[in-house]
Amino acid sequence: MRCKHRNVAIIGSGMSKFSSHREEVNQPEMIHEAVVEALDDAHLTIDDIDCVLHGNMELFEMVHQPDMWHVLGSGAWGKSGVRLTTGGTTGATLACAADNLIAAGLHDVVLAIGFEKLQEGHTTGGITNMADPLWGRSLQTGALTGTTAQQLIDRFGGDRARYAAMKLRTIMDENAMRNRKAHRRLRLDRKYIKEAAENSPPLVGELRMIHMCSQSDGACAVIFASEDKVAELGANAAWIVDHETVHREETLILDSGKSTHRVAAERLFARNGITDPVHDIDVFEMYDPSAWWGLDWLGEFMLCEGDEHLKMVENDVIGMDGEIPLNPSGGVQGSNPIGATALVRVAEAAMQVRGTAGEHQVPKPVRRALASGFGGTLWTVLMLLSKEKPALEAKV
C-alpha cells in the first residue's frame, strides 16, 4: 500500500548547454548555469531552497565527493543535502528522492542536480569498471552491444528492423534540431534513412556510430515543491503522480523473464488506471541510449505485443504531431551527460506539462507525461507527471 501525505510538483527546471566539450567552464560553473536557470524558471532564489540533492556517475571524473567541490555552483552551502548515485538512473533517482522527501514532510522545496563532464574522465573505462571486479572486466566494452539489434533483426527481418531503428534515430534528430540545448543536431533527412545507417561506421554488430548516444558535458537542475508551497507561490506546476523503480540482482542473465522496463510499466500503469498507455499518456521522454534500444524499449514501456512498436515508428505515432510524441527534446541520442541524463527526461516531461518547452513544445495539449531512466545494471525508473493535481489516495 502506498499513500502520499501530500502532493509534490515540479515548479522549475534548468539545463546548461550540452556539448562534447565544455572546456570554457569548470564543473561548479557548469552546474551553476543549470541552477540559475531553474531558480529563474521557478521565480525563486537559492534562499528558498531547503535541501540540495546531487548526483552523477560515481567516479567517472575520478572526483571523490564532487558535491563538496560543487557547492560554489550548486548553492548547497549550509543546506541539508544528499548525494545519490545509481548509475544511469541517477537523475531519475534524484527526482524520486525529491518527491519522497517532500511528500514525507521533511522539506518544502528541494533542488535536484544531475551533472556529468564526460570529457574530464573516461566514459567507457568508467562503465567497464562497473563490472564485477572478480570476473569479466577485461571483456567489457562499456555500454556498447549489438545483441538487441540482432534480436530485432531476427524477429522482424533485417530490412524492416534496420529501417525502423534508423527512422526512430531520424525522428530523434528532427526533435533535437528544435532544442537549442541539445548536443548533437545532425540535420538527418528522412529521404536518406537507409543510407545514413549504411554509411555510418559499425561499433558492435549492427550497432553503428549513428545509432549510439553521445558523450556529453552538461548539467540539469529541477526544483520540487510541496502543494502548500505551490499554492503560496501560484506556481506553474507539473504534479508527480507516481514513480516506480525496478532492478534485478543478477546482471548476467540474458533472456530470463520480462525486462525491468516492462515490469516497471505494468506496475506503474496498474496503480494509476492506465490501461492503454499510447492513448492515456500524452508525451514520453525515454532514456534511449541507442536507436536500437529505443525501438525495443518503446515496445516494452508501451506494453506492445508483436510488431506494434515498429508500426508506431513506421506510422509516425511517436513523431511531434503523433499520438504519443517520443522525446521532443531529441532524447539521449541527442544529448547524454550521463548523471544528468535521466533528470533531463523528468525535466523535459515537466516542461511539456507546464507548457514551457518553447520550440520543442508538442502541439497537442499535455495532461500526462511519462519519463524513464535506465541504468547500466538493468535498472528502470519511471515517473508519471500530470497537469492536474492528483488525489491523495492509497494505491496498491
Binding site: M62, D132, S138, T145, L203, V204, G205, R248, E250, L254
Partner: protein, 159 residues
C-alpha cells in the same frame, strides 16, 4: 599561433591516474578461480532449491535467495548462444592497451548447465568468419593461468 588565438587559450589540467588494485575473491569465487587455474575446470554452483547453476558462481541463488552449496564441473564444450562482433577499438581497462579489432565476444551454454547461465568470453579470432549462433564451441585454457578471467584464452568453434 597568433596573439588573438593565445588570448583565448583555455588552460586544462591534464592528469592520468594509475591505480594498483587488489580485490579479495572470497571462498566461492576463490574456489572457482582456483579450479580454473589449477585444474582447467569450470565449476558452477547449483541452487539446492531450484537446481539452476550460477556461472560465475555466487554465494546465494539470485532467484531463491538460499545458499548455493553444491558444485558441478560444466563444459568444457558447449553451444554458442549469442555473440557481438566488436569493431570499436576500446582499451582494455586492465592494461590500457587498445584491443585489436574486430574481435568477437560470445555467450555459450556449457554442456551440463541447468537454467540460464551462459559463460561469457572471447571467441578465437580465427573463427571470426564462421561465427554463428548454435555453433558448437570448446573452452581453450591459457597456458599460463593466474586465477583471473584471462585463465580462459577464448572459445573455439569445434565443427
Amino acid at each position: 599561433m597568433g596573439d588573438a588565438k593565445s588570448d583565448q587559450e583555455l588552460i586544462v589540467s591534464r592528469q592520468v591516474l594509475s591505480i594498483p588494485q587488489r580485490f579479495s575473491t572470497g571462498p566461492v569465487m576463490g574456489r572457482f578461480l582456483r579450479e580454473l587455474r589449477d585444474n582447467r575446470r569450470i565449476m558452477a554452483n547449483r541452487c539446492p532449491k531450484c537446481g539452476r547453476h550460477q556461472l560465475p558462481p555466487r554465494e546465494v541463488c539470485a532467484v531463491c535467495h538460499v545458499e548455493a552449496t553444491e558444485w558441478d564441473a560444466l563444459g568444457p564444450e558447449g553451444t554458442l548462444r549469442d555473440f557481438d562482433v566488436v569493431y570499436y577499438a576500446s582499451p582494455d581497462p586492465l592494461t590500457g592497451e587498445t584491443r585489436e579489432t574486430p574481435y568477437v565476444l560470445c555467450w555459450a551454454d556449457l554442456d551440463g548447465t541447468q537454467g540460464d547461465a551462459p559463460l561469457w568470453h572471447l571467441l578465437d579470432p580465427a573463427d571470426l568468419g564462421r561465427v554463428r549462433r548454435g555453433a558448437r564451441v570448446r573452452v581453450v585454457f591459457a597456458d599460463e593461468r593466474e586465477g583471473t578471467t584471462g585463465d580462459i584464452k577464448h572459445f573455439e568453434i569445434i565443427e
